[in-house]
C-alpha cells in the first residue's frame, strides 16, 4: 500500500535520511524502531509532507505522494499522529476529535465515527467537554489517537505514542493499537520502546544514523543478537 523507494532528506545542509526504502501492506502493523536521533521522526515527516524529500519516491496505493502538501496527503487516506501529540490545547476534547474529521467526505458522518472513538477510548467520553490542555499525558495521547482515527484513514502513522507515559498506560495503548488491525487499517508505529513495538508488529525496520540497518519479521528480530544487545539490554 505504501511504497517508499530510496528517499534522501536534509535538515538544512545536513543529510538526515540516506536512501530509505520500505513498504507497508494492507492491514499490516509495521514498526520502526531505533535510538533517539536515528531519524525516525524525520522519516515520518517526509512521508506526510512536513519535510521535503530530496530524491526518491513515496507512493501510496500507486499514487506518488512526495511533493504533495500535508493536507492533500491526509485526503488520500494517510493519518499522521504526530510526536508530542500536538493537540489543540484551547479546544475541548470533543472539538479536537471533530476537527480530526475535517475532510468533507468524513465530516458528514462524524457523529458515528465519534461513537466508534468513544467505544475505543471510553475515558474520552467522560472528558469530552474538558479543554485538551487540562488532560493527563495518557488522556492526551488517547485524544491524539482518536483524532487521527476520525479521518477514517487506510494507513495510520503513529509517532512515539508511549513517550512520557506510565508503563501501565503504555500497555493499554499498545493493546488498542494492536486492535486497530481488526478494522482493516494498516499501522506504521514509530517507537523507542523496542520490545513492545516488536511484539505487536508483523514486521519491523531498525534505523540508525538516518539509514535502515535491519528489516524483517518482528518475531525474528526479537531473537536477533544485535537487537537484543543494542536495544533490549540482554
Amino acid at each position: 500500500m505504501l511504497d517508499v523507494n530510496r528517499i534522501d532528506a536534509f535538515h538544512g545542509r545536513i543529510q538526515a535520511l540516506w536512501e530509505i526504502s520500505l513498504t507497508i501492506g494492507e492491514a499490516e502493523i509495521v514498526s520502526l524502531v531505533g535510538a533517539n536521533g536515528a531519524g525516525k521522526t524525520t522519516l515520518v515527516n517526509t512521508l506526510t509532507g512536513l519535510l521535503p524529500s530530496a530524491s526518491g519516491s513515496v507512493e501510496f496505493c500507486g499514487k506518488r505522494i512526495n511533493g504533495l502538501k500535508s493536507h492533500a496527503i491526509v485526503e488520500l487516506g494517510i493519518s499522521h499522529i504526530p510526536e508530542g501529540r500536538r493537540l489543540f490545547p484551547d479546544m475541548s476534547v470533543r472539538e479536537n476529535l471533530e476537527i480530526g474529521a475535517y475532510l468533507r467526505r468524513v465530516w458528514k458522518r462524524k457523529e458515528e465515527t465519534l461513537e466508534e472513538v468513544y467505544r475505543l477510548f471510553p475515558k474520552l467520553r467522560e472528558r469530552q467537554g474538558q479543554l485538551a490542555r487540562t488532560l493527563s499525558g495518557g488522556e492526551q495521547q488517547m485524544v491524539a489517537m482518536g483524532r487521527g482515527l476520525m479521518s477514517k484513514p487506510r494507513l495510520c502513522i503513529i509517532d512515539e505514542p508511549s513517550s512520557g507515559l506510565a508503563p501501565i498506560v503504555v500497555d493499554e495503548l499498545f493493546r488498542t493499537i494492536e486492535g486497530l488491525r481488526c478494522s482493516g487499517m494498516a499501522v506504521f508505529l514509530i517507537e523507542q520502546n523496542v520490545q513492545q513495538a516488536l511484539e505487536i508488529a508483523d514486521r519491523a525496520y531498525v534505523m540508525e544514523n538516518g539509514r535502515i540497518v535491519i528489516a524483517g519479521e518482528s518475531k525474528r528480530l526479537l531473537q536477533e543478537e544485535l537487537i537484543k544487545k543494542a536495544f533490549l539490554g540482554m
Binding site: V74, H80, R86, F88, P89, M91, I99, Y102, S151
Partner: protein, 289 residues
C-alpha cells in the same frame, strides 16, 4: 439624570459595538494569519467610502450596500494575502521574521490605499444623512441610525462568534490558530485558511466602516485612529481571544462615552490610560491567558 446616564450608556454601547467588530477583525488577522495589520483602518475607510459612494451616487441605502461592499473588501483582503503575504510567509524562515516583514508591508499598504482614496474621493470630510430621525427611549432621544448601527454590530459580532465556534470552517480556523502544523495533518489547507482569515478580517473592518459612515463623518485619513483603537482593544481584551475583543470593545466604548461627556476630546487619552493600567496590572489582557 437618568436620561443623561442612558444617553451616555447607549452612545458608549454604540461605539463599543463598532470597536468590538473591528477589533475582532484585527484579532483574526493577527491571531491566526500572523499579520499585524497596520492598514486595518484603511479597510474601515474603504468600507465607509464605498457605502458613501453607493448611497450618494445611486441611492443604495447603507444596509443594502453591505451586500456589495462586504464581498468586495473580503476579496481584496483574500487576494492580498494569497499574493503578497503568502509570498512573504514562504520566504521567511521564522514566524517572527514573517511578522516583521508583513507589518512593514502593511505600512506600505496603508499609504497606498489612503492615497488611492484621496485621488478618487478627494481629501475633504464627507457625510450623508440616513435614518437620522430621533427615536425616544425612556425619555432620551437617539438618532435611529445609531440604534440600527448598534443592532447590526451586535448581530454581526454574534454571527461571527457562532461561525467560529460551531461550523466546520470556524473550527478549522481556531485549530490553525493554535497549531498550524497539526491543523495541516487534519487535512486543513493552511494557506487557504490564513488567506480566509485575512479576508474575513478585512470584511469585519469593511462592515465597521459602513456602520461608522452611518453615524459619523468620514475622510480618507480616518483609518489610523481606528487602527490604534483596534490595537488597544485587542491588547486590553487579550491577544487572540475573540470574546476578549468583544469585552474590550464595549469597555473602551463605554469609557470613551463617559469621558467625552465630561471633557470632549479626551477619549483617546482615556483609552491610552486604560491601556497602560492594564498592561501594568494584567499584561495578558482581560480574557487572555
Amino acid at each position: 439624570m437618568i436620561v443623561t446616564v442612558l444617553d451616555i450608556l447607549i452612545a458608549g454601547l454604540l461605539m463599543g459595538g463598532i470597536y468590538a467588530l473591528i477589533a475582532v477583525g484585527l484579532s483574526l488577522q493577527y491571531g491566526v494569519a500572523r499579520v499585524l495589520n497596520i492598514a486595518h483602518g484603511e479597510f474601515i475607510m474603504l468600507g465607509a467610502f464605498i457605502t458613501w459612494s453607493l448611497y450618494t451616487a445611486f441611492g443604495i441605502v447603507p444596509l443594502v450596500s453591505l451586500a456589495i461592499s462586504s464581498p468586495l473588501v473580503f476579496t481584496i483582503g483574500f487576494i492580498l494575502y494569497k499574493t503578497l503575504f503568502t509570498r512573504l510567509r514562504i520566504s521567511s524562515p521564522s514566524v517572527a521574521m514573517f511578522e516583521g516583514k508583513s507589518m512593514l508591508a502593511c505600512f506600505g499598504l496603508l499609504f497606498m490605499i489612503q492615497n488611492i482614496a484621496i485621488l478618487s474621493w478627494g481629501a475633504e470630510i464627507k457625510g450623508y444623512s440616513y435614518l437620522a430621525f430621533p427615536v425616544n427611549i425612556l425619555g432620551a432621544k437617539f438618532a435611529a441610525n445609531r440604534l440600527i448601527t448598534l443592532g447590526f454590530a451586535v448581530v454581526f459580532g454574534s454571527a461571527f462568534y457562532l461561525f467560529l465556534s460551531r461550523t466546520r470552517i470556524g473550527k478549522a480556523i481556531r485549530a490553525a490558530a493554535q497549531d498550524a502544523v497539526a491543523a495541516g495533518l487534519m487535512g486543513i489547507n493552511i494557506s487557504w485558511v490564513l488567506a480566509l482569515c485575512f479576508g474575513l478580517g478585512a470584511l469585519m473592518a469593511g462592515i465597521g466602516g459602513t456602520l461608522i459612515s452611518m453615524s459619523y463623518q468620514i475622510q480618507p485619513t480616518m483609518g489610523l485612529e481606528y487602527t490604534m483603537i483596534a490595537l488597544i482593544v485587542l491588547v486590553v481584551g487579550g491577544l487572540g481571544s475573540i470574546p476578549g475583543s468583544f469585552v474590550g470593545g464595549f469597555l473602551l466604548g463605554l469609557v470613551g462615552s463617559i469621558v467625552t461627556y465630561v471633557q470632549p476630546g479626551l477619549a483617546l487619552v482615556a483609552y491610552y490610560v486604560i491601556f497602560m493600567l492594564l498592561l501594568l496590572a494584567k499584561p495578558t489582557g482581560i480574557l487572555g491567558r
